[in-house]
């Protein structure tokens, strides 16, 4: 019960398996790798599936499109190095948007204006950088675009968190209103081409081959370092650590999967003489934001309070949490990350027009839900939303390659969304009767 023990308590020789007085209370960290794996499957069986259905769906879709491409087109267009790189850059913007939305969806809120927010921000960007206009430095203009996100997020946050209007209503209003702002900024029918090489490079250029491997090495090093840090803190507190084999296993999985991805992207995927190879620049950018966001959600008060408010806002309030501030900040984070998503999208297509961002937000919400993020709040991770976005991107990419009419894409995506929600609901109902969830 003491707040700060002057000396760390002696590490209990082995709390792992002994039934202490008063009955042993575990921490879920005990036991070998077998116990951990069993515990994991028990969690899954009890309805805590996380992104598992989405990952399964992703694998099924990849196999399906590989077969369909071979049989329907007589040639493999889907499972190629080039399409893989293509897919990643196509998905980047949606991944980012879905991750942005997670911050408000976790609160049980929604931001329908996330897409058009990026529209306003990117309009400001193209207007400011126009060579025959203000001709502003593109980095500065990018900062302005992100600030536009801050302002819009703060505006939404004010009405939702402080005034108490449902976010659905506020952001629906903004969804309509901000389209008007974009229209005024750009003028109707105007298409603004972006001719800033560095800006276009985000989505259209690649890291050098060695850069991809360095990226993977950094990921492994950071992951290993954080594991060691966590274990050191736990050891200092005298609580058991998960078996070290698990740390190694996790690193091995990252190394193998990451190594495979980097290796594939390091192949020449050009169909002409000029070689194209390397990890697209957008990939490390997305991974960095994913890592920072996950860090904030898992390990800082801001993140913990977002989950708490999403789970039981009144309990959070009674615990002294500044509910209004947290809500407010979450909307700002969402809007800013939505602008980043817009940057990826603008960099990919190389232009911004008056309709920019009007048709993306619902795909972002769908991606989050497909990945296992609950719209009721309190449940879900950034990684889940990212995987959900990949599912939706694979559907669009695969069906596009098969030359099916665009309508099919919408129908399939909608079907997958409902399917994902059903899998989630069924797994939860099945687990409902059980109180033994660990």
């Amino acid at each position: 019960m003491t707040t700060t023990p002057a000396t760390p308590p002696p590490p209990p020789t082995d709390t792992t398996n002994l039934p202490a007085e008063g009955g042993f209370i575990g921490s879920g960290q005990e036991g070998g790798i077998g116990d951990q794996v069993r515990a994991y499957f028990q969690r899954v069986r009890s309805g805590d599936m996380g992104a598992l259905p989405a990952i399964g769906g992703l694998i099924v879709l990849v196999i399906l499109f590989t077969i369909l491409s071979q049989t329907m087109l007589g040639q493999q267009f889907f499972l190629t190095e080039r399409n893989f790189a293509n897919l990643l850059t196509q998905a980047a913007s949606l991944v980012m948007l879905a991750m942005a939305l997670v911050f408000v969806i976790l609160l049980g809120e929604i931001d329908l204006s996330a897409g058009v927010t990026s529209g306003v921000a990117l309009s400001a960007f193209v207007v400011l950088t126009k060579p025959d206009g203000p001709n502003m430095n593109w980095v500065l203009a990018l900062v302005v675009a992100l600030l536009v996100g801050v302002v819009i997020g703060a505006f939404i946050g004010f009405f939702v968190a402080r005034v108490g209007i449902p976010s659905f209503v506020v952001t629906l209003g903004l969804f309509i209103g901000l389209q008007g702002v974009t229209l005024i900024l750009l003028g109707a029918g105007g298409v603004f081409r972006i001719q800033i090489p560095e800006f276009l490079a985000i989505q259209n250029a690649n890291l050098p081959i060695w850069g991809g491997w360095v990226m993977l090495a950094i990921i492994l090093a950071v992951s290993f370092g954080m594991s060691l840090w966590d274990r050191a803190l736990r050891t200092r507190a005298g609580v058991p650590n998960r078996t070290f084999a698990l740390v190694i296993a996790k690193l091995a999985v990252i190394a193998v999967l990451g190594g495979f991805v980097v290796a594939v992207l390091s192949q020449n995927r050009s169909s002409s003489i000029k070689e194209i190879a390397g990890v697209p620049i957008v990939v490390p950018v997305v991974l960095l934001i994913l890592w920072i966001g996950t860090f904030a959600l898992d390990r800082t008060k801001f993140g913990r309070y977002i989950y708490a408010i999403g789970g039981n806002a009144e309990a959070a309030r009674r615990s002294g949490i500044k509910v209004i501030t947290i809500r407010w900040v979450a909307f700002i984070v969402c809007s800013v990350l939505a602008v980043v998503a817009g940057v990826f999208s603008a960099s990919k297509v190389g232009s911004v027009n008056a309709g920019f961002g009007t048709d993306t937000v619902l795909s972002g919400v769908a991606a989050a839900v497909v990945g296992g993020v609950s719209l009721f709040g309190g449940r879900g991770r950034l990684m889940h939303a990212a995987i959900g976005a990949l599912v939706i991107a694979v559907i669009a990419n695969g069906l596009g390659l098969l030359n099916l009419p665009a309508g099919v894409n919408y129908i399939v995506t909608g079907g997958v969304l409902v399917l994902a929600a059903t899998v989630d609901a069924v797994s939860r109902v099945r687990a409902g009767g059980s109180l033994t969830r660990t």
């Binding site: 019960m1 209370i25 507190a237 390990r299 708490a308 039981n312 309190g378 449940r379």
Partner: protein
């Protein structure tokens, strides 16, 4: 009796719109003593408690803590004074685990990030001190706990940090015989450590077992405040239902 009360409420009023729920309530709680608050459903017990927690501030009246006039406008005001409350509806986050719930709003950090190990150890120690047997892991989600287990977690949360005043709103309502015994023992133990305890209960047997003083709230007014030794169960039932009156209200 001669001690200064740790908390002294005078003329507390609270209404929800036109409905006046607390009509000038007085209450004292002393360090090292258990003060029971009883009364029928809807008498205003929980409302009185929520004001003390800063969750639902009073409309008027005076609150003195350790002799000082204080204002309880937010939960932070209350916890800064060392007031911990177990709410009738428990107020736990289902999507968080036991440790996360117990430390919600007062997480231990190592630099910017959480010190999960430290929190886990303190949580297990506190739970163990409450003789919790059935909880398998402190990392269980609260949604997976039974009603009684949830109640224990809520109680454990309130005694995690050294509080000066612990308020328990029907803490044993969902508990089994053995667990109820544990909680009553805990209440006694807390008081023996010098903590002022206010306990709300509908179970008069429990109240007589553990309380030093009994306060009866009847339709928003405190109709009796009596040392437990000087009254009987029958009398208290009379005050609760309004069929008896007590003249020594202003102790």
């Amino acid at each position: 009796m001669a001690d200064t009360p740790l908390i002294e409420l005078t003329d507390i009023v609270k209404s929800f719109g036109p409905v006046s729920v607390l009509k000038g309530v007085n209450l004292k709680a002393f360090p090292g003593k258990v003060t029971a608050l009883v009364g029928d459903n809807g008498a205003g017990k929980s409302t009185l408690i929520k004001g003390l927690a800063g969750v639902q501030p009073y409309d008027g009246g005076e609150v003195r803590f350790d002799g000082q006039a204080v204002h309880l406008h937010s939960p932070r005001d209350a916890s800064a004074l060392g007031i911990e409350v177990v709410y009738q509806d428990l107020a736990l986050c289902d999507n968080l685990d036991i440790v996360q719930n117990m430390f919600l709003g007062r997480e231990e950090t190592a630099g910017l990030i959480f010190d999960e190990g430290q929190m886990e150890r303190e949580a297990s120690e506190t739970l163990r001190s409450l003789s919790v047997r059935t909880v398998k892991s402190v990392r269980q989600k609260v949604s997976s706990l039974s009603g009684g287990q949830r109640q224990t977690v809520a109680i454990a949360r309130s005694v995690l940090k050294k509080a000066k005043l612990v308020v328990l709103d029907e803490p044993t309502a969902a508990l089994g015989v053995a667990q109820t015994e544990q909680v009553l023992n805990l209440v006694r133990r807390l008081a023996d450590q010098g903590v002022a305890v206010i306990i709300i209960s509908h179970n008069l047997q429990d109240v007589f077992k553990v309380a030093d003083y009994i306060n009866v709230l009847y339709l928003g007014t405190m109709v009796a405040a009596i040392p437990t030794a000087e009254t009987t169960s029958d009398d208290v039932v009379g005050y609760i239902t309004g069929s008896k009156t007590y003249d020594g209200v202003n102790v």
